[in-house]
């Protein structure tokens, strides 16, 4: 269902990637030495440009940093508001890559990830960002790690090196699709083709976790979230991965669904996985077993969250909200006044949520249940 030329080698690619060891990452950008002053500047090498009409931009993710809201979107856009969205300011971002997800571990420390394999960090509640990692440094480090081994006669390493080179033939083409930090030290990034990394020092160093996940087919890892002390990954082909604290491995759980899950939401009682064509599955036992829930819409659900008061709210690509009760027994559909494909949702004060979509960000008051 994707068109990367390496698709037929996916398993092998992921297997080899899995052998990558810890990568120490610095945020130093690789500046291109351009002869022509007008030569192309890579999206990883130039800061995002200032944009106007921020509240109408294509946004993909939103997070809370204390009382502040921080949203990320296309072309390196990160913006924040301190007045519930009345006014937005654009953050300083060192790249122009499309950004896909953002999360804050405390009111100040946050991470954003996206295309070009970029991982950004902010220590000032989202106003300024620095690059911790990108697809290019990942490739360089992989080579640094594998080359001596391969030269020393390690066949697996030599094979891995070949695959790494093939995989990065087109440069840093693979995105990280989501990020989750349990606290300011411990976090994970997940992405296309099963890519996953973890950090235990707030992102100063990132280590490949391909050996820590039961994903031999290199399925896309679409989303990661911590719920009730457990960490879950929503993935392709109806798979959910759950981090087992003892083994420190993400164990694969088949839900019975065959399509993609794009995320998981949950409260104290219930986990809810959502995805392609409005699919909804719920679990009452921390993800061990799953059962389908009747969905009111066939549009792909892109994001969702449990509400602090009670119930669930999900958003879809048809611009609708799906409101569910606390047990996720049944859902009803609410259409927005203004049509836009929705991409993320977080609860605000009271019975309101903040929604992002392809044409901006809005605050939406939820109808009483």
């Amino acid at each position: 269902m994707n068109s990367f030329p390496e698709a037929k080698n996916r398993g092998l690619v992921r297997g080899c990637c899995a052998m990558l060891a810890a990568w120490a990452v610095s945020s130093g950008a690789l500046a291109t030495t351009a002869k022509d002053a007008n030569a192309f500047q890579d999206t990883l090498d130039v800061p995002a440009i200032a944009q106007s009409k921020l509240a109408e931009r294509s946004l993909i993710g939103i997070a809370r940093a204390g009382d502040r809201l921080v949203a990320v979107g296309l072309r390196g856009l990160i913006m924040y508001t301190d007045d519930q969205g009345a006014t937005w300011k654009q953050a300083n971002v060192p790249v122009q890559s499309d950004l896909l997800a953002v999360q804050f571990a405390d009111p100040h420390q946050g991470w954003a990830v996206g295309h070009d394999g970029v991982i950004l960090h902010s220590a000032d509640a989202g106003q300024t960002w620095t690059k911790q990692m990108d697809g290019r440094t990942a490739q360089a480090q992989a080579r640094d790690y594998y080359e001596p081994l391969a030269n020393g006669g390690d066949e697996a390493a030599a094979q891995a090196l070949g695959v790494i080179d093939a995989n990065y033939r087109s440069g840093p083409a693979l995105p990280y699709l989501d990020v989750w930090f349990s606290d300011v030290a411990h976090g994970y990034v997940v992405g296309a083709f099963g890519n996953i990394m973890a950090t235990h020092d707030g992102g100063k160093t990132w280590e490949s976790w391909l050996l820590h996940i039961d994903n031999p087919d290199g399925l896309h890892l679409n989303s990661i979230r911590g719920i009730n002390g457990r960490i879950y990954i929503a993935a392709e082909q109806g798979n959910v991965f759950r981090l087992e604290p003892g083994s420190q491995r993400f164990e694969r759980i088949a839900t019975g669904y065959t399509g993609s899950f794009f995320g998981i939401a949950g409260n104290a009682r219930m986990l809810l996985a959502y995805g392609l064509r409005g699919t909804l599955y719920r679990s009452q036992d921390n993800g061990s077993t799953w059962a389908p829930v009747k969905s009111p819409s066939q549009a792909t659900i892109t994001a969702g969250t449990a509400l602090p008061a009670a119930g669930f709210v999900l958003v879809n690509s048809a611009g609708q909200l799906l409101l569910g009760d606390d047990n996720a027994d049944s859902f009803r559909m609410v259409s927005l006044d203004r049509y836009m494909r929705l991409t993320s949702v977080i609860p605000l004060h009271g019975s309101a949520v903040a929604l992002t979509g392809l044409s901006g960000v809005i605050e939406q008051r939820l109808p009483s249940q």
């Binding site: 269902m1 994707n2 068109s3 990367f4 030329p5 022509d36 002053a37 007008n38 030569a39 192309f40 999206t43 440009i49 944009q51 106007s52 009409k53 294509s58 993909i60 296309l74 072309r75 122009q96 499309d98 896909l100 295309h115 070009d116 087109s170 440069g171 840093p172 083409a173 995105p175 699709l177 896309h220 679409n222 669904y257 065959t258 399509g259 993609s260 794009f262 392609l276 064509r277 792909t300 892109t302 690509s317 048809a318 494909r341 991409t343 392809l358």
Partner: protein, 821 residues
Amino acid sequence: MSFSSAPLDHMPVIGRVEDFDTRSGSTFERLIFNNRFAIVLACAAVTIGLAFCALRLGVNASFDKMMPSSHPYIENYKANAASLRGLGNSLRWVVENPSGDIYDPAYIATLRELNDKLFLLPGVDRSFMKSLWMPVVRWTEITENGFDGGPVMPQDYDGSPQALEKLRQNIYRSGIVGSLVANDQHSSMVFIPLLERDGVTGQPLDYKQLRDQMQALKAEYEVKGVRIHIIGFAKLAGDLIHGLLQVMVYFLVAALLVTAIIYAYTRCVRSTALVIACSLTAVVWQLGLMHLIGYVLDPFSVLVPFMIFAIGVSHGAQKMNGIMQDIGRGTHRYVAARYTFRRLFLAGLTALMADAVGFAVLSIIDIPAIRDLALQASIGVAILTLTNLLLLPVLLSYTGVGAKAAARAMRSSDGREHPVIKGLLTFTDPRVARWVLLGTVALTLGGLVVSRQLKIGDLDAGAPELRADSEYNRDDTFITQHYQLSSDQFAVIVTNPKNRLDNFESVMEMDRLEQQLRDLPGVQTTSSLASLGRPLTAAGFEGTPKWITINRDPAVLNESINNVNAASPEMVNDGRTVAPIIAFLTDHKAETLSSVVKLVEAFAATHNTADRQFLLAAGNAGIEAATNQTVARANYQMLGLVYAVVIVLCLVTFRSWRAVLVAVLPLAVTSVLAEALMVMLGIGVKVATLPVIALGVGIGIDYSLYLLTVYLSHLRQGCSVREAYRRSLLFTGKVVALIGITLSVAVATWIWSPIKFQADMGILLAFMFLWNMVGALVIVPSLAVYLLKPKAGDIAPAAPAIAGMQLENEALRERPRRVSA
């Protein structure tokens, strides 16, 4: 300018033609009048021949001709036009259900019938036509098993509620709300790309025929309960041609009005008929020659006959005056005709040449339509020298004039003062003149303040060629309000002939320019390979928004570009070397356009490489930006040049800088006031207003030339300011009024033209012709009080009696030898 070759005392009153020495006069005069019959015969033959040519004169509205052809933007566009099909020719038919939404079986059935008829229209590029009933319009959806899809119109559609529900679902899934289906779903669109040449016959598209067919279809289906809105280049061209045909009818109105004025002036059926006939002959010749040279009538050139006719009539009537007075005094018609010819040929030639200069100056503007206008008008004026200076006296020598009218002409010139003349004479009183000049200064200053807000370009929404309330612009407004994309499109042409555009770097650079453009006030949205390719990349990844991106992997990128090309072949050429970035603008005001131009030029300066180029400009707004630049530059050039020409002409005629000031200052006041009027009427400086500036000044100087030559001649003979002006008015006052009124009336009929720029030209020209007349009659004497005073010693004891006031004014256009200077 000196034409004293025919001293007046050599023209005695001769009552019998036998007494006249046919060997007198110049060789040229003898050649003409001793071969009168041959001349008439030759003219008749030429007229018949050219009339047949004129009947075959084609009609068209070419947009190419209204573009500044050597502007770099236009050159860029033309060099890449073959790869920019989407910016070319298409029609959009919006079919509206006035009694509900589109999910109505009757509506869908009507739409189907109409769709099939439109499909068969000549020139339709059928494989690219899109509508709810075209199977190429499809929905796709990603399912657990991969792609699913089909035509938006269910293949088993039967009008049942279930089928309609399925259609509704397909429309949602296909994402065509806003493009092929209105936002409110009460109408849907049939998108019809057109071929420049008919696929079967190879003939170029006939816009008039296409428009007629479309109007017939529209009328037929509106009876069946739908409302139809049509926009597109072909419809606009058709509407312009239609408007042009309507304006041709106005020519009859103008001709009738002018005829009435001439009759009121001469009170002689015979001479009125002759003047009108000769001027019409000039128009027939001019139209016939246009066809022979290979021109067709377009919205600009259709105006030339009006001007030629009006100039011909006003100059002709003035010649008639002389003949009448000669005949009134008893001279035989043949002799009178020869006298008139003798006196007036050179003078008339000079006057017409002055008009021709006004037209010729226009040819400096780099816009073919204006150059054609200049050439055609110059040809027309040249023809007038034949028809009105040669043919008219020859014909008069046969017909003569009515006796009553001749007697009246004598009476009216016997020196008795008309009350209007008395009124005008007060302006030579310094106490009155002071106030006139102060008032003029105040008016001019006011005009200057207002005219500072003068804008370049077209200011109204919709197609600027047509009126805001025209059917076309109402349809345009409807479609803009109910669909997502505006009709003001500014396209940047992106080229990379060597390394193609289907690579990450090129697409990302296009994305960057789009991003900057979208940030610009006045830009609604943008479209290009980059922004269209983003969601198509996501389509390869289960449609999730996280993949709305430009990927570095060539395989991923190529697939998205191939999908763009399949869905919108106009957005990138097959060789992947040329692609447009289209900015949809909120309007086409000059500021909006120049802000886009500024941004794109700055981007190109920092992003163009040896291979990859961002070129301006295509799309209607891009072409308008180029036109605005050309027009803004030409506006100053034109003003500078036309005033330079007029000043030189005056200087040669008057040999006095004071007289030049007196003649030119009223024109400058008119120019300022005309600009203020443009501000007040919301008319911007555009292609159509440039000829107005040139003609307003170039023809406007006629009045002062007439008045001041006579005035200076009398002043030279020692008259006081008042007496000199009185005599000038007696000689030329009627002529000035006649020219002002006939020209104004002829152009004023354009005000009712459905073509907006013709209406604008009509208003402005009528204003300038009339106001120049007022300037000549009021401001000129007031200025003369101060600038053209007789020197103290010059006042002769008695003004020498001039042999009859019936002198032709041109005869007095002798070089003034002494003026106060």
